[in-house]
């Protein structure tokens, strides 16, 4: 069981999976940069984030449902949770549905997020969830995702990793990887190129600058 103060936002799982330093910047350092992707994501979620529900006979859909699991120490919101009931009103199946920008990416972050939602719902409704669904707005269709044993292990492994980083309170060192870093919304705050390895030796940098300043007068560019 986890103290309510220490609940991990489900979104942190995606961040830590993408980059441990990004997770720390967002959740430990609390710096946040909006970029095009996050802004688009917000607009998308405004549509589904309003708490309301929809019901027909034997079926109910909850939008923007607040969910949590004290045993895994997770907290978050599910875009949509669909409840199927039998004629006696007992819940027979629960399916979390997550809305995503773009097209099916077959990427783990989306699946991990869905799995984390399933873990929460299982605890909240004391049930077993075998599948979730990802709805990609770019292709207007849902895809079923199996909440497999393997996916569960991956998800709980990430939760464990988050606990370790959070407990240390230290932001992992930057490692510059072009493919990842150049599209990361936190690039300017992370400074991966600047602080990766070569980010040491500030004393030498300052000495060099002084030397240049004292001797290379001609480097002065034209006055503005």
């Amino acid at each position: 069981m986890v103290d309510e103060d220490e609940l991990i936002p489900i979104s942190a799982l995606q961040h830590v999976l993408f980059c441990e330093r990004q997770y720390a910047l967002i959740h430990l350092e609390r710096v946040w940069e909006e970029n095009r992707f996050t802004a688009e994501g917000n607009i998308l979620h405004e549509r589904v984030d309003i708490e309301h529900h929809e019901s027909r006979r034997n079926y109910k859909a909850e939008y923007g449902l607040a969910i949590r699991s004290l045993s895994f120490g997770l907290i978050g919101k599910a875009d949509v949770v669909e409840f199927e009931k039998d004629d006696a009103g007992r819940i027979v199946s629960i399916v979390p549905v997550e809305f995503k920008r773009g097209k099916n990416k077959e990427e783990d972050p989306d699946r991990v997020q869905l799995c984390a939602q399933a873990l929460c719902l299982e605890e909240m409704f004391d049930c077993e969830i075998s599948e979730g669904q990802l709805y990609y707005l770019g292709e207007h269709r849902r895809r079923s995702v199996e909440i497999s044993e393997q996916l569960r292990e991956k998800t709980s492994g990430l939760i464990e990793r988050i606990r370790i980083i959070a407990a240390s309170g230290a932001t992992p060192e930057a490692v510059y990887e072009r493919r990842k870093c150049d599209r990361c919304s936190l690039f300017d705050l992370c400074m991966p190129k600047t602080v990766d390895g070569g980010g040491k030796n500030v004393a030498r940098y300052v000495q060099n600058q002084i030397r240049k300043s004292l001797h290379d007068e001609d480097t002065c560019k034209e006055d503005v």
């Binding site: 350092e29 300017d188 940098y205 300052v206």
Partner: protein
């Protein structure tokens, strides 16, 4: 690099700012004078009697847009921001490091080294650009002496020694500052730095420009989660933004002073644009203030090469970059604070 956003300066007395959808509306005399999308703004600075609706303030706080209120003459009154951003762990680290004499010496030393190198550069450029019109020997002499003190800094044993050398360096620099004025010399004469209140036109321009710089540096520090009040070079004093003043040292000469000098030397300001109050304080009129604000904004768009991150960036982003380098140093990503050297 992150985008440099505009700062909205509102100096028209009696203006009312309010939020309308995702825009800020400026009303003057009950009429809509201007409407701007809020996402294009990085900050709002209101001078004197300017009102702001609470909803606009809340929206700005949410979007990390600093709203500062200054007196009509540029004295800082208050800033409005949302819940403290950033991390308490970073601020605790900042406080601990600021209490460590070795760290304060190292950070103060790097900052003042950059300050002296930069102010020396301003002097040397005046010699190069206006050789026939300046007192060449006085300026070269000052530059040479500043260079000597710059080299002495390396051996400073503690922050107090750094402060001492800074004092001498500043005296040498301001000692020849009047020589840097090459046009309108009779109307704009600088004899010494005074600020409470500024007693001549040059000091009025300098003080006002420093206020603008302080506002920008302070917001940059808050953006990266640092406490602008706790510095390394400037000792804590209630109400004083010590760390903001620390970081400003690197920028004063190359950004603020050069801006003031070029306003005078290019005749963009004139003596008639100032008035003298009973107490001897010299204050600029609305037109002069507007000219300065516009030129300051323009200057922020100008790109410079940053020798540590090795990138060309607009001057307006320098504050953010230095604040972030400070945060990265305090967090242990860097083994020192890399101050900014103008090239």
């Amino acid at each position: 690099m992150r985008k440099l956003l505009n700062t909205l300066y509102v100096a028209t007395q009696g203006s009312y700012l309010r939020k309308e959808g995702e825009t800020v509306v400026i009303e003057q005399g009950g009429e809509k004078a201007l409407q701007l999308p809020i996402h294009t703004l990085g900050g709002i600075v209101a001078f004197g009697n300017v009102l702001c609706s609470p909803f606009l303030l809340g929206f700005c706080a949410e979007r990390d847009i600093t709203v500062s209120f200054l007196s009509e003459h540029g004295r800082f009154l208050a800033a409005v921001r949302g819940p403290v951003s950033g991390n308490v762990l970073l601020r605790r680290t900042q406080y601990r490091q600021a209490d460590d004499p070795r760290v304060t010496r190292d950070v103060a030393k790097n900052i003042i080294e950059a300050k002296l190198a930069n102010s020396r550069l301003v002097v040397n450029r005046a010699i190069r650009d206006h050789k026939e019109r300046v007192d060449d020997s006085a300026l070269s002499d000052a530059a040479a002496q500043i260079a000597r003190y710059l080299q002495q800094l390396e051996r400073a044993k503690n922050a107090d020694e750094v402060r001492g050398i800074e004092g001498i360096g500043a005296a040498l620099y301001f000692g020849v500052f009047n020589h840097l004025i090459v046009d309108q010399k009779h109307d704009f004469t600088f004899s010494e730095r005074n600020r409470r209140p500024p007693l001549d036109e040059v000091n009025a321009l300098l003080s006002f420009t420093y206020t603008l710089l302080a506002h920008d540096v302070r917001s940059a520090l808050e953006t990266v989660g640092l406490d602008p009040a706790v510095g390394f070079l400037h000792r804590d004093r209630p109400g004083r933004p010590g760390l903001a003043l620390d970081l400003m040292e690197e920028f004063r000469s190359v950004i603020a002073d050069r801006l003031v000098l070029s306003l005078i030397n290019r005749r963009q300001v004139a003596k008639s644009g100032f008035k003298r109050a009973e107490n001897g304080a010299v204050i600029m009129d609305d037109k002069t203030r507007k000219t300065l604000l516009v030129e300051y904004q323009n200057r922020k768009q100008t790109e410079v090469f940053h020798p540590y991150i090795e990138e060309k960036i607009p001057i307006g982003l320098l504050f953010f970059v230095q604040a972030n380098l400070m945060a990265r140093f305090l967090r242990g990503d860097l083994d020192g604070y890399p101050s900014f050297f103008w090239r």
